[in-house]
């Protein structure tokens, strides 16, 4: 799994710990965040431990969850069928409960490719993929992917083979979506865990394909 997003403008040297606020110039909105949090703590509405636990819970969910689901579906056709029939129910088999929203799994095939968006806000299958990447929340992606999805995919370096039709899924309400990518060619020798390691976040959103040939040690913009 490649979790290391390498931001172009991040001057911090550490990959995993976000920088503390101290010593930085804060924006007005950052001051507002501190004020709201402090006041709510002082009034006993929340406490600091709950905030810390909440942040840890966010950090605990990564796209590795979704990758487990995908790899299981590739290795177990019965599971794959249950997953496509009722995504929420099938995920419970793997200990992932996405309620109160419901999971719709959309499968890429020889003829169909699927892409996920939320044009109205940024609804995202957080319990399978963690928090959405910046581009998923961007005006550019939310505006354009419903009208010119092929151009947007090309901006991720993705060209669909001729004859493949494309379906965009706009998460406007209570469903959440996960793309079940195509299992890459020449992956028969890999076991479930090795397959899961190939499955990237972006392939489960549908903007890229899963490949066996990626050089995983390189910093690739995922």
């Amino acid at each position: 799994m490649n979790h290391s997003d390498h931001p172009p403008h991040d001057h911090s040297s550490h990959d995993h710990q976000p920088p503390p606020d101290e010593g930085r110039q804060l924006s007005d909105v950052q001051y507002l965040e501190i004020a709201l949090r402090e006041l709510l703590i002082e009034k006993g509405v929340i406490n600091a431990d709950e905030i810390r636990a909440g942040v840890e819970a966010l950090d605990a969910v990564t796209p590795a969850q979704g990758a487990r689901v995908v790899a299981r579906a590739w290795c177990d056709d019965q599971f794959r069928q249950r997953l496509l029939a009722d995504g929420s129910k099938a995920c419970i088999e793997l200990g992932i409960d996405i309620r109160p929203t419901r999971l719709v799994v959309v499968e890429n095939t020889d003829n169909w490719h699927n892409v996920i968006v939320c044009t109205l806000c940024s609804c995202y299958p957080r319990l399978l993929l963690g928090l959405p990447p910046d581009w998923y929340k961007s005006r550019e992606y939310r505006s354009r992917v419903v009208r010119e999805p092929r151009k947007v995919l090309a901006e991720f370096g993705t060209q669909l083979p001729a004859g493949v039709s494309l379906r965009v899924h706009d998460s406007t309400a209570d469903m959440r979506y996960l793309v079940l990518p195509r299992r890459p060619a020449n992956s028969e020798h890999l076991d479930e865990e090795q397959l899961a390691a190939l499955v990237t976040r972006d392939s489960m959103i549908g903007v890229t394909l899963v490949q066996t040939s990626l050089v995983r040690t390189q910093a690739i913009p995922d």
């Binding site: 997003d5 920088p19 965040e33 709201l36 905030i51 942040v55 109205l120 910046d134 550019e140 992917v145």
Partner: protein
């Protein structure tokens, strides 16, 4: 057929620039505001719910919406919601911000 936009968030089909496929790590304050919202909306507190947060984000208006990014909009919307629900009042928020700025 010309259909009115339903708000500043109604982006589907608009013209926009290229998508940058890069993503940065979230900052602490962004994770904290996400956590804060989830606490306010949890089963124990039920002070607000996600649709109210969305509506409050949309009510920020075109200009504020466009000038702020995702978690900035959350923070501004939560402020307005907490005031509207009389959990906090505007004066105490402003006073606290002034104090914070002076003390740095």
């Amino acid at each position: 057929m010309s259909i009115a936009k339903i708000g500043p968030h109604d982006l589907g089909g608009d013209d926009a620039g290229k998508v940058s496929p890069l993503s940065r790590d979230l900052q602490w304050w962004e994770k904290r505001i996400d956590a804060l919202y989830r606490l306010l909306a949890d089963d124990r507190r039920m002070i607000l719910q996600v649709d109210e947060l969305r509506a409050a984000i949309e009510a920020l208006g075109d200009d504020v919406y466009a000038r702020h990014d995702y978690y900035e909009r959350w923070t501004l919307a939560l402020r307005n919601l907490l005031i509207a629900k009389q959990v906090l009042d505007e004066a105490e928020i402003e006073t606290r911000i002034s104090q914070l700025k002076q003390n740095r």
